[in-house]
């Protein structure tokens, strides 16, 4: 690793849920020319208040028939360094007008999800008569019905692997997906091929020689305080392996 810039990351982004506390600016009057000067007046009394703060516009108190000009409102709010990022509550038409101007409806934690406009009831899906055909890259899980003995190596290429017996010492089971062992794991289990970081290993009796996920591995001596002899799930958290006892 010569410089940080040359360190290739495996993925460009990650999607995670997060909870934030946001101020809600409840609009009591739809007229922009009334709202903005009143805000400016407030700021003169409390300099720095709300400066550059993201806020959510509360629409509950507005008359459903009189939506404000949201495009104009957004521009005016930004001119006084307030960043509106979405709306909450309000009538369907008002929300739709805000969404058209670039302010999506947000759901307050614990509140019901605002129904997207138009608020027609969601159509009840027709009962599916036949299962749709699986996508073309779908691979059936490989199932091994017997013990895997020393020196044997089983590779579930491009799919998950289920072993119904023991994986004995000196045996090796490999899957590009997850590895499930409904017996004792006493040999090696390798999941996730070269890059599937979310692959997992499950075993009813966890006594492995080695476990590996997507190239990260742990040998028996490196298992630390893993719950040996138990029902265990192995997964990858960042660059370290986690051993969860399932029973």
């Amino acid at each position: 690793m010569s410089s940080p810039a040359s360190e290739a990351r495996l993925e460009p982004f990650r999607l995670r849920g997060g909870n934030f506390n946001l101020l809600v600016l409840r609009l009591l009057d739809p007229r922009v020319e009334v709202i903005v000067p009143a805000l400016a007046d407030q700021f003169r009394r409390a300099p720095g208040f709300l400066r550059n703060a993201p806020i959510v516009l509360g629409l509950d108190d507005l008359d459903p028939s009189a939506a404000p000009d949201f495009g104009h409102l957004i521009a005016q709010l930004r001119s006084v360094h307030i960043a509106p990022i979405g709306t909450t509550g309000g009538a369907t038409d008002v929300r739709a007008a805000a969404q058209a101007a670039g302010l999506p409806p947000l759901r307050a934690a614990g509140a019901e999800l605002p129904v997207a406009a138009p608020a027609a009831p969601a159509p009840v899906p027709e009962p599916v008569q036949e299962m749709p055909p699986p996508p073309s890259d779908w691979q059936p899980t490989m199932v091994v019905d017997q013990a895997v003995r020393a020196g044997q190596r089983i590779w579930a290429q491009g799919c998950d692997l289920i072993v119904r017996g023991t994986v004995n010492p000196g045996a090796e089971v490999i899957a590009d997906g997850n590895v499930h062992i409904y017996g004792a794991l006493k040999g090696r289990a390798i999941a996730g091929g070269a890059e599937n970081l979310s692959a997992r290993i499950f075993a009813l009796n966890f006594e492995p020689e080695l476990v590996s996920i997507a190239g990260y591995y742990a040998v028996r001596d490196g298992l630390g305080d893993a719950p040996l002899g138990r029902i265990v799930q192995v997964c990858l958290i960042g660059e370290s392996m986690r051993f969860d006892r399932l029973g």
């Binding site: 013990a147 003995r149 020393a150 020196g151 044997q152 017996g165 023991t166 004995n168 010492p169 000196g170 045996a171 006493k186």
Partner: protein
């Protein structure tokens, strides 16, 4: 049609040849026409254990290469007249064996014998693979020791994938576990693997447990298969195993440590 039985283990020194000699003798004593073949070409031992080393003229390699007839190479045992031995060559190596050659020998022996025992060499190379290839049944000899169990496990995998029965997708080779050199006292002290531990890994039916016994070494050195020594615990254990193999019910013996009496503790006597 004769039954072909391979005596195998993967690991060396666990008692394959001793067990082959004892088992073949036991089957013959039970009235079965039995031949035992030494597949350990280059390191032949079976003829010594059977006490026929001075009567070897031709061997299996001579037969395969057409230098001798099968009847010339077979040695008839002097103690049990239903028993014959087909020795290995001392001067050649295992490359002298071919699958076709072995097939011909076994086919010819099938006409005259009930049981054909194949004494496998150690390892998983050509000699061992040929010894197990034609097997209908396998006796897997294992010592109560982790490396032996591991190697037996390996050889079971080979039996299930590379035998003729596996290749032709017939019924699998019938597997039997024979635990040898078992010392219950050392098992109790935790120095040896327990029978249950061995079975937990190998998961094949147990044919017998042969206790560690000084009579085995004596038997080998005098060229008398240990099963002929009815006094010894090992001899009795082999007798039991042969009886079970032939379908008799016999309780397992020699699996628990004997409570030493006062006198034997005093003089440090060991089981014969």
């Amino acid at each position: 049609m004769a039954q072909v039985i391979v005596v195998t283990s993967g690991k060396g020194g666990v008692g394959k040849t001793t067990s082959s000699a004892a088992f073949a003798t036991g089957l013959a004593q039970a009235g079965k026409k039995t031949v035992v073949i030494d597949f350990d070409v280059g390191l032949r031992n079976l003829d010594l254990i059977m006490g026929v080393e001075r009567r070897v003229v031709f061997d299996i390699v001579n037969v395969i290469s057409g230098e001798a007839k099968l009847s010339q190479a077979l040695i008839r045992d002097k103690r049990v007249d239903t028993l014959s031995i087909l020795p290995a060559s001392q001067t050649r190596d295992k490359d002298a064996l071919t699958k076709e050659g072995v097939a011909t020998v076994i086919e010819e022996l099938s006409k005259d014998f009930d049981y054909i025992l194949c004494d496998s060499p150690a390892g998983i190379e050509k000699g061992a693979l040929l010894a197990l290839y034609f097997a209908d049944q396998a006796i897997v000899v294992t010592n109560p020791e982790v490396s032996s169990v591991r190697d037996s496990d390996r050889i079971l995998g080979v039996l299930q994938s590379r035998s003729k029965r596996a290749e032709e997708k017939k019924d699998p080779v019938k597997e039997h576990l024979l635990v040898t050199r078992y010392d219950p006292a050392r098992v109790e002290k935790g120095e040896m693997l327990k029978l249950e531990d061995i079975q937990e890994i190998l998961r094949i039916p147990l044919l017998g447990v042969v206790p560690e016994s000084e009579s085995v070494l004596k038997a080998s050195n005098t060229g008398n298969p240990v099963i002929m020594d009815a006094e010894s615990s090992a001899g009795q254990a082999y007798k039991d195993a042969v009886a079970r193999f032939l379908g008799e019910e016999r309780p397992m013996r020699f699996t628990d440590a004997e409570k030493k009496g006062f006198l034997s503790r005093l003089f440090g006597g060991r089981a014969a």
